[in-house]
């Protein structure tokens, strides 16, 4: 074994997982399409084209997948919606994960009364009904996308915190942490240099499930009408629009819905692969 770090070994195990790699590839394509696809068209998703109202799928027309009842190109709208959903998803997971990791690592390493207090706070927050909390926060922070983002992150950092706290607790008892204290390291140094990096496996596994959770949360809220508002597109509000036209024009539902489903499938398979690769039992 030629000096591969544990991380390198785990990534290699991940790369050997076909399903996960295919999903990764597909997801990359979706991301690429969402962020660069719209440039292939001379119009944006908000431009109304009065020549083509509610046009059908016609691959040779300027609007290959048709338009909605306002004449907006469906494909571009769906791709632009994807930009919003994916950005909120990945950024939200990163921020929620980051907050959760630090909170959990500190609580788990500190132990004792500090840990009790910190985890009681988490348990209290868990008790709040999720949707109401989001609505309240959105109103409190004045509506808008940033408030929505903050509200989602605020509810989703709890689970990473709990998971990392458990991992940190078990790490705190390991001899290499004692050795670090014997080496004169301060608690802050120990948490940042030893605890957090050794939680990486746990964080990556559960963090990868956080991304679909955030995307789904945003989609759900937008679907309910309290998330991303028109005219800006997100997969959630596109699906909502599609549902109301379901009887007459399935296409308005299927395109955003299908892309959302595909993205979620890919993320879940990737998360599965990461879980297998980073399995702590393999130490």
């Amino acid at each position: 074994m030629a000096d591969l770090s544990p991380l390198a070994l785990q990534l290699r195990r991940f790369r050997a997982n076909r399903l996960a790699m295919v999903s990764l590839g597909l997801l990359t394509c979706i991301i690429f399409a969402c962020f660069f696809g719209p440039y292939a068209f001379p119009f944006s998703g908000e431009d109304a084209d009065f020549d083509y109202i509610s046009a059908r799928i016609d691959l040779f027309s300027p609007h290959p997948f048709g338009t909605d009842e306002f004449g907006r190109d469906l494909l571009v709208r769906v791709l632009e919606g994807g930009q919003v959903s994916l950005t909120i998803g990945f950024l939200g997971a990163l921020v929620a994960g980051g907050i959760g990791v630090l909170y959990g690592a500190v609580a788990g390493y500190a132990g004792g009364r500090a840990d009790s207090l910190m985890m009681r706070a988490v348990e209290i927050l868990y008790g709040f009904p999720y949707v109401i909390l989001v609505i309240l926060l959105s109103l409190l922070l004045g509506g808008g996308n940033v408030a929505l983002f903050a509200a989602i992150v605020f509810t989703l950092w709890l689970t990473p915190a709990v998971i990392v706290r458990a991992q940190a607790q078990s790490l705190a008892k390991r001899e290499f942490i004692e050795a670090a204290r014997a080496g004169g390291m301060t608690p802050r140094q120990i948490v940042l240099e030893h605890i957090v990096p050794n939680c990486a496996g746990v964080v990556i596994v559960y963090g990868s499930l956080l991304v679909p959770e955030v995307i789904l949360a945003e989609s759900f809220l937008s679907f309910l009408g309290i998330g991303i508002k028109e005219p800006q597109a997100s997969w959630g509000n596109l699906i909502q629009a599609g549902v109301s036209e379901m009887e007459t024009d399935l296409r308005l539902l299927l395109l955003p819905g299908g892309l959302l489903a595909a993205t979620l499938f890919c993320l879940n398979f990737i998360a599965d692969g990461l879980r297998d690769a980073f399995d702590p039992n393999d130490r």
Binding site: D3, E175, A179, G183, G184, M185, E193
Partner: protein, 323 residues
Amino acid sequence: MTLLQTRNLEVGYRIPGAGLLSKPRILPIVHNVNLTLHPARTLGIVGESGCGKSTLGRALIRLIAPTAGQVLWDGVDMAEMPPQTLRLRRAELQIIFQDPVAALDPRMTLARIISRPLATFEPGLTRAALTQRAVLALQQVGLSADFAHRYPHELSGGQAQRVGIARALIGKPRLIVCDEPVSALDVSIQAQVVNLLMDLQDSVGLALVFISHNLSIVRHISHDVMVMCLGRVVEHAPRDAFYARPLHPYAQALMLAVPEPDPTRERHRIGQSLPGELPSVLNPPAGCVFASRCPIVQPRCHAERPELRDFGGRQAACHFIEA
């Protein structure tokens, strides 16, 4: 010249109180230990599980704070040291652990693991200088320089323990507490590590506290021996005197119980084991800690705990020892 001295040292663990706001109580593990350590000398601490030897070892280098009594390093009470001074002093007071692989951060290279303490003890060294010092430490423990960029999962138990020793050596320590350092290793590797520690003691003048349940290894490496039972010292004697003739009944029972690789001698030992088990640490007896199993127990032993008495250069805690 005394390196380290303890006075009436007591160490315990905090047990959280029943409610969220109630006070924690203290469960005492180690009671009333008085010892002194000198350069280039090894104190062997023996006892079975629950005797508190590991807790004592950690208290000696202040990884755990004592609940009563004092630990003096170079004559200074460690409790009085300001945090920054204590942090720097740690270079001189090091420890190696029972599970050698678990004592290394699995995500760091050996060079980083070994040299990390230098960032605290000698700040300002460049990355290259740190690696250089790590390589020197590796060579000091008999490992080649190319171990520097390996990871803990690539090491055998014996190699991992050497790395632990290298890390302990990096700050030029004067004392190393060895907490069951060879119990998890194969016999042939145990011998290598024990010899290494003895070589280091000779070359660098290291003082060692060697904690183990293995009486035979302790005999080989120690100058003085301390026997612990349920948190108390029951015997404390120079090595040769101790092994020639242990005074305390518990020490005698331990000697008899250790199997030796000598079938002729062992045949006579079958059937001589001491019955019963020691009481739990959570429920210590009022009198002598060994009363429940002692072959020469008397009523007085259950009522009155014996103090350590002097017997000409050695001590034992028993009411009924003939000098």
